[in-house]
Structures are given as structure tokens and as C-alpha cells.
Symmetry: C2
Subunit: 198 residues, 2 copies
Amino acid sequence: MTSAATRDAVTSGAVLDTALTLFSERGYHGTALSQIAEALEVRTPSLYNHMRSKQELLQTIVERTVRGVMDDFHEATDGHAEPVDRLYHAVLVYARRHATHRREAIVVNRDTSSLEEPFRSQMQTLRREHEHALRSIISDGVDAGRFVIGSPALGSFAIREMCVSIARWYHDDGPITPEQVAREYTEFALNIVGVGRS
Amino acid sequence: MTSAATRDAVTSGAVLDTALTLFSERGYHGTALSQIAEALEVRTPSLYNHMRSKQELLQTIVERTVRGVMDDFHEATDGHAEPVDRLYHAVLVYARRHATHRREAIVVNRDTSSLEEPFRSQMQTLRREHEHALRSIISDGVDAGRFVIGSPALGSFAIREMCVSIARWYHDDGPITPEQVAREYTEFALNIVGVGRS
DNA sequence: GCACATGACTTATGAGCGTTAGCTAGTCCC
DNA sequence: GGGACTAGCTAACGCTCATAAGTCATGTGC
């Protein structure tokens, strides 16, 4: 008879990873703990050896991702002063992340509304920070005469969301690398804000 | 005593509309029929006088929306031959639709995965049609030397998804009209495909 | 003024959900 | 070699869900 300790024990990391995959495919409410358990070849209650609740899984996923985005942003832009450079690097890391962390992006963008308060509000505040940071770059570029765009706010939305949606169509097994996608998208972003036009 | 016939009878249109609102706010799996019933001030089982199942509500919403997108596209582009004109009008109606039909767009883009087969596959096929139609415009424009873009496929994704996401941030009570948003986004789209560059 | 169709209602069913409790069997350390 | 810890298991809970069935009041058309 197979014993608990003989077979590979399920780790909390594995539970989180499986939850991430299933949440991204079927959504938070569309995923049952029994499905996570089944994927790990374990009975449902055994999951509770590695987590506190289903909600906690979602919170962990969202929090890690949102903080990762902010860290990426600061690391990429802190060394640059020119709006063009700042926008370029901000979009480069943001686009790349959505190709390399597809599941996280999908869950955050679809299931944030399933987070319980007050956690949900906290995460939304964090996301707003990134939103404002990107918009500020564009506004600064317009003020400095580097960018030509009717509405910085709309441009900021368009750039952000076109990057976010990379997660929805990108596939690792395709011919194109995350780096290539990211570079092409920086091009799109600079075009949107009208870099290099009179 | 209020009677069934005295008070305003719930119509199947009202059920669909309420479902649309709630699905867009909480997702398909996150919405219970009891919540739809409560919003209509009716007991849950009474809903079955106006629909066949919860799944049918979702299917109706998705099908109408997807067909509407295709109708819009053909009506807008059929009269034009030039890639620039075709892209302009395709993006104009697509962007505008996502400002005027926010709830539908959100549900279709989030909850298509909750559709039962084979309906889900049928709808995905329909959506692919629009995807390919838009990509063809861009490819044609590149072939004709009108557009300058590294990857038509990526450009097509970026344009589509930035339009789709209008539904996620637009608010009717704001200062900007759907028409203004749509026009600004056509500008973005034409910039992305590099119209008017050497 | 009566029959019928309509659309509410109440009540009930069975399935599935997340979660808890309590038990058991291996593994590691002394 | 024995106790603590780990990580499975089964069983059961309370709840909510979608859905079914049958009842009853109403307004419309004959």
C-alpha cells in the first residue's frame, strides 16, 4: 500500500501552482477545491495541510503578482530621466511579464473582484499606483514636448491594457519569445504616444 | 394583496438584462439565480417562467454580442477598399461598441470559458472570424506599402485588445463620450500600424 | 360570467460546495 | 525503540445552488 510519506508529498508550493493554473483556466468561482485536489492526486481535505482556505490561495496569488509588477516598474525606470526612456523600459518589463507570467495576469485581471474586503481594496490601491506612475510618464513626456497625444489618460489605458492582454493570447510553445513580444510592444507604445513626430 | 397580474410582470427581457448586469459585475459562476431574482423582486423559481436555465442566459448574451460584432464590422468596412479606411472604420465601430456595450463585452471576455460545449467552440470560431478579418486588413496594408509594422499578427492583437478593454474602465457618467473614445482609439490604431511613415 | 392561460407563489430534491474533526500510518530525531 | 511531527485518509457538517412540481390568484376573450 502506498503510504503518505513514501509517495512525493504535496507541498504548499504545488498547491498554489495548481490553483494558479486552474483559476486561470476556469476562474476562482469556477474552480472547486476538489479539482485542485484531483490534479494533485489527493483527496480534497488533504489540501488543508498546505493552506488555510481557498480565499487565501487567491490572495497570495494576487498579492505576489501586484507587488512584482511594482518592483519591476521601479527597477526598470529608476535609472532613467527622459520620458522616452522611462516609457520604453516601463512597457518593456510590463509586456514581458505578461508573456512570462500569463496565469498570474489572467487571475489578477479576472478574479480581483472575488477577493474579500479589506484585501481587495488594498490590492486595488496598489494597482492604481502603477496606473498613475505610467500616466505620469506620459504626461511628463507631453509637457516636455516629447510626446504628441490627444489624451494622456486614454493613451495610458490603451498601453496598459494591450500589454495585459498579452497573457490572453501568448503561448510559450509558439515561435516568438517573450522578449520579442515585449520589444514589439514597446514600439506600439511609443507610436501611440506619438514619439518622434513634429 | 398584490397579485401576479396586477404588479408589473417580469419579462424575459428584464431577466436577461439583470443577468447581464450581475454577470458583468460578479462573473457567471459568482452570480446566483437567487441574486437575479432578488434584483427583480421575485422568488428564484419564478425565473423559470422566463428562461430555460442559467446557462441559456449566458449563451444568449454571448451569441447576441458576438454576432453584433461581426455585423458591425461588415457594415463598417464593406464600402471601403483602402486598408487605411477599412482599419479606421473597423476600429471605430469596435471601440465604440465596447464603450456602449460594456456589460456584454465584460461577460463575453471573462465568461466564455463557462459556456458548455459545443456552444463554446462555436462561439470561439465566430470570434476567430473577426480576429482574422482585422489581421487581414493589416496584412493587406503592409503588402500595399501603406502600413509599417514588424508583425501584423501582434499589431492585430494589440489593437483588438486595447479596444476590448475600454469596457473595463469606461464610465457613462464621465465627461467623455463613446464617440470621442472611439476616435482617439482609431488614432492609436493607425499609429500602431505605422500609417504615414516612410 | 366562466374557462383558460399566465405568472407569481411555496415547498422540496439532489448535487456540490468549502470546511472541520478525528483517525492512521509513515518518517525523523533522540 | 519510542514520541513528535507530517500528511495522508474517511466521514460528516452546514450551506447554497439550480431545478422540479404543484398551487393559487389574476386579467383576457368568449
